[in-house]
Amino acid sequence: MIRACRKALAAALLLGAAGAYRAAAAVPERIALGAAKFAFSAAEIRVRKGRPVTLVLSSADFPHGFSIPDFGVRVDLVPGKTVELTFTPDRAGRFVFLCDNFCGEGHDRMTGIVVVTES
């Protein structure tokens, strides 16, 4: 009886752990990224293939755009507000992100790289 209870408890713990793992996997990783003329706060973002990620984006001075063309995602930033962009990279590699709203003479410099690693 005691052995059976122990087995049931172990199974429940295992199930619980698996459930917790699934819940953790489903929660996107959050990465903050700021934009200001004419750079993003990070030149490189590192994420994992197959894992959802939420970019928490903000702009200090202009309605910059944020775009990762290779993943077909983009959003307009609103100065003074945060905007969230969630996506799941389905390929490993290095991919350009950029401001895609023309913001001035340094607009072409507002780029960075998303590094997607294998999980």
């Binding site: 309605p63 755009g65 775009s67 063309p69 290779d70 307009d76 350009v96 950029l98 895609d100 709203n101 023309f102 913001c103 001035g104 003479e105 607009h107 072409d108 780029t111």
Partner: protein
């Protein structure tokens, strides 16, 4: 993407011509061009002047490049019916006064062109930061418009006066309404600044909703698009519609596929003005595909 790159070699091969003259790849263009010789006309495309640009490592002749091009156009043996500047007349600036000053200085120089007419429209450097206010004040005229010349219908599309690289739903509807008045075989030339197709969105070489315009144009058999923005010669086809990017008069940008990131190519003292230039275009009301002559500024 429904499209294909036409390499310069392919383009020359299609045209069956050597040197700097070539025709676009629409079938039968040579014979139709000959048949309609009486209605042929010639115009010149100048692009991406970026007046006010200042980086001697890239162009130490920034103050003379436009003057050189204008002098070359004025010397052409075959006189163009008109010249069109396809955007980025000036280098952008946050200062509205400087923007107006640059536009005015550009306009004064463009007035030296000895041609019957000069057409303009804005690039993002001219218009994006104030939605075309200074451009319209100094250069004048609408941001999008149409005109007809010797039986060819020209459509100027504005994909730069919004900070976002878009045409906008209203302009797409305006285009459709204009096209509804055309016959399927009318010769149509579209002039715009950015590529309408997604050439390389990673380098901001695209118009987000540009394919809506291409879709609207596809039912028309004789359509060609001339644009600027990418600062080098490039030829591409979406369906039967050919898209031809022009060289800049200020600085060349690294061609597609030749660099990891968009790069202004440095000045080559051994070959001054290398990579800069303009183009002459022979068009025809017969529906013959336009014939294009690239003119390097170094040889001008």
């Amino acid at each position: 993407m429904d499209g294909e790159r036409l390499s310069r070699r392919d383009f020359m091969k299609i045209a069956g011509l050597g040197g700097l003259v070539f025709a676009s790849g629409l079938p039968g263009c040579a014979t139709r061009g000959q048949a309609g010789a009486q209605s042929d006309f010639f115009f010149v495309q100048l692009s991406d002047v970026h007046w006010g640009y200042n980086n001697p490592k890239v162009n130490p002749e920034a103050r003379t490049s436009l003057r050189r091009a204008i002098a070359a156009v004025n010397r052409l043996e075959e006189k163009p019916d008109f010249v069109v500047f396809t955007g980025d007349l000036t280098q952008t600036t946050d200062d509205p006064k400087v923007r107006r000053q640059r536009l005015a200085e550009f306009r004064e120089q463009a007035a030296e062109l000895k041609v019957p007419a000069v057409r303009f429209f804005a690039g993002e450097h001219d218009a994006s930061l104030d939605r075309g206010e200074a451009y319209q004040e100094v250069i004048g005229g609408p941001l999008r418009y149409t005109f007809d010349h010797k039986g060819v219908h020209f459509i100027v599309l504005d994909n730069t006066s919004d900070p976002a690289p878009v045409l906008g739903a209203a302009q797409v509807e305006w285009l459709k309404a204009d096209l509804a008045q055309r016959k399927a075989d009318d010769p149509i030339v579209v002039l715009t600044h950015r590529p309408l197709f997604p050439l390389l969105p990673q380098w901001d070489w695209a118009t987000r909703d540009g394919m809506a315009a291409v879709e609207a144009l596809l039912p028309y058999r004789n359509v060609v698009v001339f644009y600027g923005h990418i600062h080098h010669e490039h030829h591409h086809r979406t369906g039967h519609i050919e898209h031809h990017a022009a060289r800049s008069l200020m600085f060349p940008l690294s061609p597609v596929g030749t660099a990891a990131q968009k790069t202004q190519l440095p000045w080559n003292p051994a070959q001054p003005f290398d990579g800069l230039g303009f183009r002459g275009i022979h068009a025809s009301a017969t529906g013959a595909a336009p014939r294009v002559r690239e003119q390097p500024l170094a040889e001008a």
